[in-house]
């Protein structure tokens, strides 16, 4: 989403209580949030997207700089997608504090290059990763953040994920581009 004048005006109007502007902002944000939450939360994507947009609108008044909308929404959507997925896997909440506990990703589990069912394979590969891994892949491959930025957004040490993620991402990309 470009931080353009009309978008900033929309945010200001929505913050001022214009609910038609909120409606228009929702139209603008829903596809973006869906693209972030879908690959991270998979089957819980709609729940995650709803939670993310609920948080966005509930806290919109705290966004002081409308030009920062995209980064702010990206952070909320990523966190909500990981949280909703973790909650679904562990309703008791015992895993809630284990954001840094990344699951192992074995390169051998990734599909071979040239696999014919490409779209299905992306989902299959994503399903083998932890939500946090998926979040970093989304932030890097779809959002264009570098590892430092992605790790910072997720509040995890860059060193924890860097080498393993680099291997996974490299093979992941090869599988889709060949």
């Amino acid at each position: 989403m470009p931080a353009d004048g009309p978008t900033e005006a929309l945010v200001r109007a929505a913050q001022g209580g214009d609910t038609i502007a909120m409606n228009d902002l929702l139209d603008l944000l829903a596809p973006y949030v869906g693209r972030i939450c879908g690959p991270i939360a998979l089957e819980h994507g709609p729940d995650a997207a709803q939670e993310a947009l609920t948080a966005v609108f509930r806290h919109l008044h705290t966004l002081w700089e409308p030009a920062a909308l995209r980064g702010w929404v990206r952070r909320i959507a990523t966190w909500e997608a990981v949280r909703v997925t973790r909650r679904a896997a562990d309703p008791s909440g015992r895993q809630a504090g284990r954001r840094g506990a990344f699951a192992a990703v074995e390169v051998a589990d990734l599909p071979a290059p040239g696999d014919p069912s490409l779209a299905a394979d992306v989902r299959d590969v994503l399903s083998r990763l932890s939500p946090e891994h998926r979040a970093v892949l989304v932030l890097r491959d779809l959002e264009g953040l570098d590892e430092r930025e992605a790790a910072a957004l997720l509040s995890v040490p860059e060193s924890t994920v860097k080498s393993r993620l680099h291997r996974a991402r490299s093979n992941f990309r090869k599988a889709w581009t060949r």
Binding site: G17, I20, P31, G34, C37, D141
Partner: protein, 162 residues
């Protein structure tokens, strides 16, 4: 947010009811009620979206609603209340989605097909500070609106509940 997407990555779709829940969360004091109406989406939305006929029928305080302007999914309407007060509403109306904003009153409707019928949601709120104290009153009002709509659908199609 219209940049090109990688079509192989899964995308989370947000149906209109989920959108309405999210939007209402940003409006202090707003309430949302929802229920499944055992009728097809087309039957339910066909009635609910007929604003000029259905709003006065389902809202006791509305004498008439007249659409004065329409351009795409954007409408303007003049709403006359029972005691002669009138208000001009800006409306967004599209299949499964309606959002209405007047000077004081907000109202929304959303519908999406589900396995056993149509999940329908009503939302309402007031554009006045401190309107949260009126939430119980607003909730009863939209509960009533939802029941009336289900009855209307049932009476019209023979599918809804009575």
């Amino acid at each position: 947010m219209n940049e090109p997407t990688n079509h192989h990555w899964p995308v989370a779709d947000l149906d209109p009811v989920r959108r309405l829940r999210a939007l209402a969360a940003g409006i202090p004091g707003a309430v949302v009620v929802e229920d499944v109406i055992p009728a097809s989406f087309e039957a339910v939305w066909g009635i609910a979206s007929d604003l000029e006929n259905e709003v006065p029928r389902s809202e006791w305080h509305v004498r008439s609603l007249r659409i004065t302007h329409q351009e795409g999914d954007r409408l303007e309407a003049l709403v006359y209340g029972l005691v002669g007060v009138h208000d001009r509403f800006a409306i967004v109306l599209r299949p499964g989605w309606c959002w209405m904003q007047g000077r004081l009153l907000l109202a929304g409707m959303a519908a999406t097909p589900v396995e056993d019928g149509t999940l329908f949601a009503f939302a309402t709120g007031l554009r006045v500070p401190g309107s949260g104290v009126l939430r119980p009153v607003l909730r009863r009002a939209v509960d009533r609106s939802l029941r009336r709509l289900a009855q209307r659908v049932g009476a019209t199609t023979g599918e809804g509940t009575g």
